[in-house]
């Protein structure tokens, strides 16, 4: 399925993601990583630790609503795969980001921005394995 090429919206959205990462660093001195956020909610270091993570997450889920208020249309979300792929993919992502200590936000944005040597390895590895997986799923298995 084709999707529209959106360089302006994507750059702008990316800049906002970056702004949020900078805000969290300025306010709390923390990396903005979705993996670390969820891991910290599952096993918080303290009540205060749980509270700020929960607030951050609460803010995050308002994204689609704010988008709708700003643009008058719901954000685009098309899921081209079935429930089995979502569960299998979700499990693999969960296991992978826990062992890999981060995902697209923690390694891909924050880690690369501060030239973390671990992120400089992690990002090309997961980008390559995602591309390889998509190739196999779409062009070898023909899903």
């Amino acid at each position: 399925m084709e999707t529209a090429f959106t360089p302006v919206a994507s750059t702008l959205g990316g800049a906002l993601i970056g702004l949020a990462a900078v805000m969290l660093m300025a306010l709390r001195g923390r990396i903005f990583g979705a993996t670390g956020l969820v891991a910290g909610l599952l096993r918080p270091a303290s009540r205060g630790d749980f509270a700020w993570r929960a607030l951050l997450l609460a803010g995050m889920v308002t994204g689609p609503l704010v988008y709708r208020l700003l643009f008058g249309t719901p954000m685009e979300l098309t899921v081209p795969v079935g429930p089995l792929a979502l569960v299998l993919g979700g499990l693999l992502v969960g296991i992978g980001v826990t062992y890999g200590s981060g995902c697209t936000s923690g390694h891909g944005v924050c880690g690369l921005a501060r030239l973390s040597p671990r992120s400089l390895v992690a990002v090309p590895v997961f980008m390559a394995s995602t591309a390889a997986t998509v190739f196999v799923v779409r062009h070898v298995l023909g899903a």
Partner: protein
């Protein structure tokens, strides 16, 4: 004030994800489908995010400390090891299969789409499985590195 600013930080991230297309699996998967319906948009998401973060971090680090914390809490490990490489590779396989990454899925929960909820529950399940496996491994080899810090 603290609470509001933290909430707003999350909201900025969530809006950025919504605008960028990172929470739209069809778009995400097409970025990686160079041999098919290629959509290069995600490179612009990463570009925009990286420029702002790389410059913004350096400005922030000129301060001696964050506003509400005693120090900047940055991951210090430089170790390139099997969990990092293997875990990242596994993450990519899951991302390619489902089309969601954690940072895209969490804000997308706000759409109330059942698919996002299903992915997120599986994601949490996977994280708990990995934690349990790490605990078992740590018990078998007590000399091994204890709890790894997450970025």
């Amino acid at each position: 004030m603290k609470h509001l600013a933290t909430f707003l930080t999350g909201a900025v991230f969530g809006l950025g994800i919504a605008i960028s297309g990172m929470a739209n699996p069809a778009k995400v998967v097409n970025f990686f489908d160079v041999a098919g319906a290629w959509d290069p948009s995600l490179a612009f998401v990463m570009g925009g995010a990286l420029i702002v973060t790389a410059i913004g971090y350096r400005l922030v680090w000129r301060r001696t400390r964050p506003v509400w914390a005693p120090t900047f809490d940055l991951p210090q490990s430089r170790r390139i090891d099997l969990p990092l490489v293997g875990g990242s590779a596994l993450f990519g396989v899951g991302w390619g299969i489902a089309g969601f990454c954690p940072g895209g899925a969490l804000p997308a929960l706000g759409t109330l789409e059942p698919a996002v909820l299903l992915f997120t529950l599986a994601l949490i399940g996977g994280m708990l499985i990995a934690r349990a496996l790490m605990l078992v491994a740590a018990r078998r080899a007590p000399a091994a590195e204890p709890n790894r810090s997450l970025t």
